[in-house]
């Protein structure tokens, strides 16, 4: 039976520490930033964004929104646009797969992604001398000039599959497959699992009343859900008109 892997991220539990970002980068051999890199040219397949309720003073509230590839399940914006099939939705897992070795770096998929969850390798990947010995053997280093993004830690899925095969099992043991960010989260805010499995904790979490998805009205059926009890945080799901008028006055 084919899985639909996804996240349910409890924004009330996120302290914005950044452990998920670090764990993700280390797991996936993402290079450190060159001197000239900025938040707009960085490589952060998992990116925690700081948001606020827009009020100054004691009434100000802040929250943190971890953003990875949403692995859209319908009309996946990046898949249709890629001219040479470097992006595909995996039938077995629902993972939206980005293949840097196939990519020609036209960046059309980046303009197509409403979540800005895709990143371009503007520089040759470089580590301080000797540090290449600290790279994760399970993941190939990407080259300059290609797009990359969250592929849900394929290396971990690989070893899970291999383990299953060695044990003569057909399906992987869910406990063996946990992406680095979910594993790293110190508050357990990032819940990972198979959204197609009714017994999986993510299933019930994704269907709870506090759950929502970003820009759900685009109809791309993202497989990353968010969860919060606070109204102002929920309001960030869609781009409503107040903010626009706000901007008008600004």
């Amino acid at each position: 039976m084919s899985a639909r892997y996804g996240f349910v991220i409890d924004l009330d539990r996120c302290t914005g520490c950044g452990a998920c970002m670090m764990a993700c980068a280390a797991e996936n051999n993402v290079p450190p930033a060159p001197a000239r890199a900025t938040p707009r040219t960085g490589l952060t397949p998992m990116l925690v964004r700081k948001v606020s309720n827009g009020i100054e003073g004691t009434a100000r509230r802040e929250a943190f929104i971890p953003i990875a590839c949403m692995h859209c399940g319908n009309e996946t914006p990046c898949v249709g646009v890629c001219p040479q099939q470097a992006v595909e939705v995996d039938k077995a897992t629902g993972i939206v797969m980005q293949m840097p070795q196939r990519c020609l770096g036209c960046r059309y998929c980046m303009t197509a992604c409403p979540y800005h969850a895709r990143y371009f390798n503007w520089w040759d990947p470089a580590w301080p001398v000797g540090m290449e010995k600290s790279l994760n053997p399970g993941v190939a280093v990407r080259m300059r000039g290609v797009v990359e993004k969250c592929n849900l830690c394929p290396a971990r899925l690989h070893s899970a599959k291999e383990k299953a095969a060695a044990a003569g099992k057909k399906e992987i043991d869910p406990a063996d497959y946990l992406p680095a960010c979910a594993e790293a989260c110190p508050t357990g805010a990032i819940l990972f699992g198979n959204l197609a499995d009714k017994n999986d904790p993510v299933f019930s979490a994704a269907h709870s009343s506090d759950a929502f998805r970003l820009l759900a009205r685009l109809g791309t059926e993202p497989k990353v859900y968010y969860q919060s009890k606070q109204a102002w945080v929920k309001a960030l799901a869609e781009r409503d008109s107040d903010r626009a008028t706000e901007a008008q006055h600004a």
Binding site: R13, A26, A37, G130, E132, S134, V141, T187, K229
Partner: protein, 556 residues
């Protein structure tokens, strides 16, 4: 026949047409694309099989349990350990790239003296000479370790003094130690039983104490709820991470913690909100309000809220006695959900010796924060794995880096239960690198080896028959068959944890209300992080995103 230029042209035209019928253009096209997929200048990860080891992180005093993936003799990944009783799988963000630190450009691999390259022999000779002349001092950034006792023994023998540089968390417990006589290392916070936690600017959700312990407590009992089981009240001038996620954020002026504490104490006493009487602060509520920038009403409300659901405990960012006194007043000392005394024999916190006016030489351990300012006119022997920058007179001695040294990990200061772990030297020590302990043993061979001390401590723990050993699955200490076996377990990455504290056991006497105005030390988001450099990937947190403010200049 004569070959004209025209013939050449036609001939080459033919050649071009011919080539199209050979593999040349097509295979080249293919190979060139493959070349772009494996640019030779792009590093290749290791190829060999990967093995998993367990240990404890030694980059700060928290001693979090870590799972390390090793390939070709080097660590290629760090993760938390869910079965760890204290950290429960949590790590600070920087730890996830800690395995990069040993390759940091600022890594020290050679002895330096006054900014120039020198040799271990010279350093040794110089220190020997200094010991001869005396007095010397050894500064330890993390007391209670096996090596600490080596330091102490050495100072005892060579008319020196042992100095400890305490973390902010330990400093915050110092007042109770002064008042009760219980050593700081034996004190801790029983957060698990508290229902209201008032933090005076302590970054309780951002690196305070042991990552994972409080954050998980908070996420289970507080996060998002309008009326949570566990109320976190953050008193802070700015909207820090802890303030942003707290149940209440009380915005106050910079550096007025003592005044606010006094104001709260007044309300508590005047309105009989607390049972036992205590010394009345000199500061009146009106004065306190004026100085803190809060309305008297706000202070009154705050004190009422504090008492609403108890037990309540106050957490200070540093050793401010006024805030400690507030805990005494609240009856949060030696009671469940407050400041408690760890049960059993905790590794004695080596007391600071009185510092002589003039010190001939100072040996500074690599666990001491880079900012530590050694006493003037003392010859400094600074052990460090990474160069924190700034030109330093004296000796800079390359110390073991991440996972390169066998050391033990005593209880983290904020913990309510005693713990003991051992960090193996999983990575071979680079040539030219040496730990302070090894250095001292070379100078005085009678000094005990760290191994021996660890062995002895494992023996003590085994004999105490308390607590449990948390390996793959926890087992009661009584079930461990031998000290040997216990040591093996710990060396394999298991951690021992003692029994939970029993209430009482010590009292704090307050003669008069302490009023000490001090500005809490500015806590950066990685204050607890001892290495003076960050792992390369930390750029994700501040340079490649706006998640965090860039670290202070000294950071690598």
């Amino acid at each position: 026949m004569k070959v004209t230029r025209r013939d050449l042209l036609i001939g080459s035209a033919g050649a071009v047409a011919g080539l199209a019928l050979t593999p040349v253009p097509w295979k080249l096209l293919n190979d060139v694309s493959i070349w772009t997929q494996n640019f030779p200048w792009i590093p290749q990860p290791a190829y060999g099989p990967v093995e998993t080891k367990y240990s404890a992180c030694t980059l700060c005093e928290s001693g979090c349990g870590i799972r390390v993936r090793m390939a070709e003799k080097f660590p290629v990944g760090v993760a938390g350990v869910r079965s760890h009783p204290l950290t429960k799988g949590a790590l600070c963000p920087l730890a996830f790239a800690a395995h990069q630190l040993n390759w940091h450009p600022r890594r020290l691999r050679e002895v330096r003296h006054a900014g120039r390259a020198a040799s271990w022999a010279e350093a040794q000779a110089a220190f020997q000479k200094a010991c001869g002349e005396g007095p010397i001092a050894i500064v330890d950034g993390r007391p209670g370790r096996a090596v600490s006792s080596v330091f102490e023994a050495f100072t005892r023998k060579h008319n020196g003094s042992y100095q400890a540089v305490l973390s902010a968390e330990s400093q915050a417990l110092a007042p109770y130690a002064d008042w009760s006589g219980v050593p700081v290392a034996s004190l801790g916070y029983d957060l698990e039983n508290a229902r209201t936690i008032v933090s005076f600017g302590a970054p309780v959700l951002d690196g305070w104490g042991t990552p994972g312990r409080f954050t998980q407590l908070w996420s289970e009992r507080a996060a998002g709820a309008a009326d949570p089981q566990l109320r976190l009240i953050q008193i802070e001038p700015s909207l820090s991470r802890s303030a942003a996620r707290a149940w209440r954020w009380v915005r106050v002026r910079e550096g007025i913690e003592a005044q606010l504490a006094a104001g709260l104490a007044r309300v508590l006493l005047e309105e009989r909100l607390v049972t036992q009487p205590g010394p009345m602060p000199r500061l009146s509520l009106a004065e306190a309000a004026a100085q803190t920038g809060l309305a008297p009403e706000a202070i009154r409300d705050l004190s009422h809220t504090m008492m609403e659901n108890r037990p309540v405990v106050v957490i200070a960012a540093d050793g401010n006695p006024a805030i400690a006194a507030l805990n005494v007043l609240l009856g949060a000392v030696a009671t469940p959900g407050g400041i408690v005394r760890k049960r059993g024999e905790v590794q004695p916190h080596v007391p600071d010796d009185p510092v002589p006016e003039s010190i001939r030489a100072m040996l500074v351990d690599s666990t001491v924060p880079w900012e530590f300012a050694a006493q003037a006119n003392a010859e400094v022997f600074r052990f460090a794995a990474w160069d924190g920058g700034g030109d330093r007179a004296g000796w800079l001695l390359p110390a073991p880096g991440f996972l390169e040294e066998l050391t033990d990990v005593p209880t983290s200061p904020t913990s309510a239960l005693p713990t003991y772990a051992v960090a193996q030297n999983l990575v071979a020590l680079p040539i030219g690198v040496q730990s302070a302990a090894q250095f001292l043993v070379k100078i005085d061979p009678t000094m005990p080896a760290v191994e021996k001390v660890i062995h002895a401590r494992c023996g003590e723990i085994f004999r105490s028959r308390q607590g449990s050993v948390y390996g793959e699955h926890p087992i009661a200490a009584t079930k461990v068959d031998s000290a040997q076996h216990l040591e093996e377990q710990l060396r394999k990455g298991a951690v021992w944890m003692g029994e939970p504290p029993s209430p009482g056991k010590f009292r704090c006497e307050l003669k008069e209300w302490p009023m000490e105005n001090r500005v809490a030390p500015a806590t950066s988001w990685a204050t607890a992080w001892v290495p003076p450099v960050f792992p390369a990937l930390a750029t994700k947190l501040y340079q490649e995103s706006n998640l965090r403010e860039p670290p202070a200049e000294r950071r690598g």
